[in-house]
């Protein structure tokens, strides 16, 4: 058992760090990253490399066996290391001395560049960071422990696809555009190499690790923009410690909201590399930025879509902020020069080649694009209310974040020492998401507002940290020392209680393990006793872990008929929403119920015990073939 765990940790480290690290190592002399930036960028680049390698294997028709996967990923990790030893590459790279000189001549006259330079961590910042990280791990691990047996809906959907990919040893034919291939590849790779079941704790543990890396990426970005360890660590505290459980953090980890977790890692990384490429005129950074964009493109459409808006907004704000400066033309020219240099062009070519010849994600279809690019119509797409946003973001974080935004805009417009590129990125990141979350009509896009607003948590946390730093600074210098200490203590306590109370509200009172294990048992039984021709109805409205039932069948994403929540059967537009799944569950012997059974040829019904099963017990048409303390399964006896 212990060996299995060690296999998981070593595979995770090898697959999700080495390929990225080796690519970064190629450009080690020109990138000038901190160790923490190396860590988070290695993870992001590795995920992109892994997805690309698996898509290439699929294109070549090589099955995803453990051996093929391990060999291909080993090659992907080793080649850049080998390449970096070539004498021609060594001459291409600037040597250490000239790199330093180059850095000096490039950075000193340019204030924006100076703003992005790395500041060393001191002992106080280190100790604060260590304490915050310890609390983060304690709080989130404690939360995940209450619900560690897999049972959540989204996780069940994603692991179904990962399991299909693992068993078929190729990219499956996605018969839905709700999920994307890159959300499943990382889990399939680990499952195939380690032979650990996807129906275990490992997918949640992996998501937890990616979530922590995302939080560290936020720290790294905040440090580069604000050049303050206090603001950087406080940003981490606002995202991963005080509100560690609410969306899009711990709650998304245990829920298996895979795309968002990856999005929260990639968005700060892409903004970071993009900023560094603008400020340092580094084509390597722009190349990384494009490569990371390709990575998230194959993982999560919403994150990609929002990123495109954020980057476009950043360029617009950056352009407007510089338009009256004498150096505007020079800056625009530099940007263009960086963008048109070989490495970024190579990254774009790779992106287009992958899209054109290797794999097109299922969401890239005319229908999907048209569906998104239209005025929002659904209630849930018309923007969220301020009340609902504050409730989900946390009162203090929302208040401090919005205050931080106002102060930041004012301060940046007055203070010339502010980094224009950093300000443009922060403002675009926040304003684009605020507009898309609250007033999507402005962009004529049809997106779920609540999900968009979840992305706002990150820039608001950074701005809340900035706001808090300003408050503390003002108090320290402006008011009497003892009063300042009392106010700071009160503020700190209020923040802690608000954040911790928010986290506590998500703790499940009772573990779902017992119910989930019984669902697994019943599913395994029914999968063994039936064939693909049998039609099965399950009750999503009442059964815990019901999305995991299909994991045992592997007979198609939509193989099981599903009775859902009553409100989903409401059909105000008269669009012909099917109601058979509901009628067959709540009134199996009614005229409509019988007609539905005939029409759908449903042979088995999978229900929660003591919920809607009384009529099945009393019916002549059903026999009970399975019962445990949570699930009952009925077989239809008559065909008339």
């Amino acid at each position: 058992m212990f060996i299995e765990y060690i296999k998981f940790f070593t595979t995770f480290a090898a697959v999700f760090f080495l390929p990225g690290f080796s690519l970064l190592y190629l450009f080690r002399r020109s990138l000038k990253l901190t160790t923490i930036e190396y860590l988070v960028l290695s993870a992001g680049v590795s995920i992109s490399v892994v997805n690309l390698v698996i898509l290439a294997l699929n294109k070549l028709g090589w099955p995803f066996t453990a051996g093929n996967l391990a060999n291909a990923l080993f090659l992907a990790a080793a080649l850049p290391f080998v390449f970096s030893t070539f004498p021609s590459w060594k001459t291409f790279l600037p040597d250490k001395k000239s790199a330093k000189e180059d850095d000096k001549t490039e950075t000193e006259p340019e204030s924006t560049t100076k703003d992005f330079s790395v500041i060393p961590m001191n002992k106080a910042a280190f100790v604060s960071g260590l304490v915050l990280l310890a609390i983060l791990f304690l709080v989130v691990t404690r939360f995940l422990a209450t619900d560690i047996v897999p049972n959540n809906t989204d996780l069940g959907h994603h692991m179904y696809w990962a399991e299909i990919m693992r068993t078929e040893q190729k990219i499956p034919n996605y018969d839905t555009d709700e999920v994307i291939v890159g959300e499943h590849i990382p889990f399939m790779v680990v499952a195939a190499i380690t032979k650990i079941s996807l129906l275990s704790a490992f997918p949640v543990i992996m998501l937890f690790f990616f979530n922590v890396l995302g939080i560290m990426a936020i720290y790294a970005l905040a440090l580069r923009i604000f050049r303050s360890h206090f603001i950087a660590w406080t940003s981490l505290a606002f995202t991963g410690v005080l509100y560690a459980i609410s969306a899009p953090m711990g709650k998304f980890v245990v829920g298996g909201v895979v795309g968002n977790i990856f999005g929260n890692l990639f968005i700060p990384l892409i903004i970071l590399t993009f900023l560094l490429s603008i400020s340092n005129k580094k084509s390597e950074m722009l190349c990384l930025s494009i490569f990371l964009l390709q990575g998230i493109f194959y993982i999560h459409h919403l994150s990609t879509f929002l990123l495109v808006f954020i980057i476009a907004g950043s360029l617009l704000i950056y352009g407007v902020a510089n338009i009256e400066r004498k150096s505007f033309r020079e800056k625009a020219g530099n940007l263009l020069k960086t963008a048109l240099s070989p490495l970024p062009l190579l990254a774009v070519a790779l992106f287009l080649f992958t899209l054109g010849y290797v794999y097109i994600p299922s969401y890239i279809s005319e229908d999907s694009v048209t569906t998104v690019a239209q005025a929002p119509t659904k209630d849930t797409h018309l923007g969220i209310s301020l009340n609902s946003f504050i409730a989900s973001t946390g009162d203090w974080r929302a208040a401090l974040g919005l205050m931080g935004l106002i102060i930041y805009v004012y301060a940046a417009s007055k203070n010339r020492s502010f980094s224009r590129a950093g300000t443009a990125a922060m403002l675009s990141w926040t304003l684009v998401l605020l507009l898309l979350g609250f007033y999507p009509q402005a962009f004529m896009v049809d997106l779920p507002s609540r999900r968009v607003a979840n992305y706002l948590v990150v820039p608001l946390s950074i701005l809340a940290a900035y706001s808090l730093a300003l408050i503390l600074k003002t108090m320290r210098s402006g008011i009497e020392r003892r009063l300042a200490s009392a106010v700071m203590l009160t503020l700190g306590l209020s923040l802690f209680l608000n954040g911790y109370a928010d986290s506590l509200s998500y703790y499940v009172p009772q573990s779902q393990a017992k119910s989930a294990v019984q669902v697994y048992h019943a599913s395994a039984y029914l999968a063994e006793k039936t064939t693909e021709e049998d039609i099965i109805l399950k009750d999503h409205a009442n059964i815990t872990a019901d999305s995991w039932i299909k994991f045992f069948f592997l007979r198609g994403y939509n193989y099981l008929l599903t009775r859902t929540f009553d409100y989903k059967y409401l059909d105000p537009d008269n669009s012909g929403r099917e109601t058979c799944t509901r009628e067959m569950t709540i009134a199996p012997d009614s005229r409509e119920g019988l007609s539905c059974y005939q029409k759908t040829k449903t042979g088995y019904v999978f229900l929660k015990k003591d919920y809607d099963n009384f009529l099945f017990d009393a019916s002549d048409n059903f026999g009970k073939i399975y019962e445990n303390d949570f699930i009952v399964i009925y077989k239809r006896l008559k065909t008339s």
Binding site: L130, S200, F208, V517, K635
Partner: protein, 125 residues
């Protein structure tokens, strides 16, 4: 001595390792059927056939005594027997009245479970 950045990364690796290990062990324990899970399962061995041979599984975490009663379509008792199962044990039971048995009732620890097949004249009480 390594820099503070490196120490932070080491701390993340150590915290991550122990957090992951704890979650792995916990999940394994919670899925362990011989543990104190307090549930039992009964099911027909061959739901496609007309016989009522069934299986019993004990996931109660302790030895359990199961009493099973076989009924015919008129709700008369055909036979009654009991069986002891240790934690995690599974037992398949063959019914001696394959044609007339239509319902099996299993009682244990104050609980009742039923399996039914064919069309019953008298409904389950």
């Amino acid at each position: 001595m390594p820099g503070y950045n490196t120490l932070i990364i080491t701390a993340i690796a150590v915290f991550g390792f122990f957090a992951g290990l704890y979650l792995f062990v916990l999940e394994k324990r919670e899925q362990d059927s011989s543990r104190n899970m307090h549930w039992s399962a009964v099911y027909l061995i061959d739901p496609e056939s007309s016989n009522m041979n069934f299986a019993l599984e004990n996931h109660e975490g302790k030895e359990m005594l199961y009493v099973y009663t076989i009924f015919n379509k008129d709700n008369n008792v055909l036979s009654k027997a009991e069986i002891k199962l240790s934690p995690g044990e599974k037992k398949e039971i063959e019914i001696s009245y394959p044609e007339s048995a239509v319902r099996v009732q299993i009682n244990y620890n104050g609980q009742e479970k039923n399996l039914t097949t064919k069309n019953t004249v008298n409904k389950i009480p």
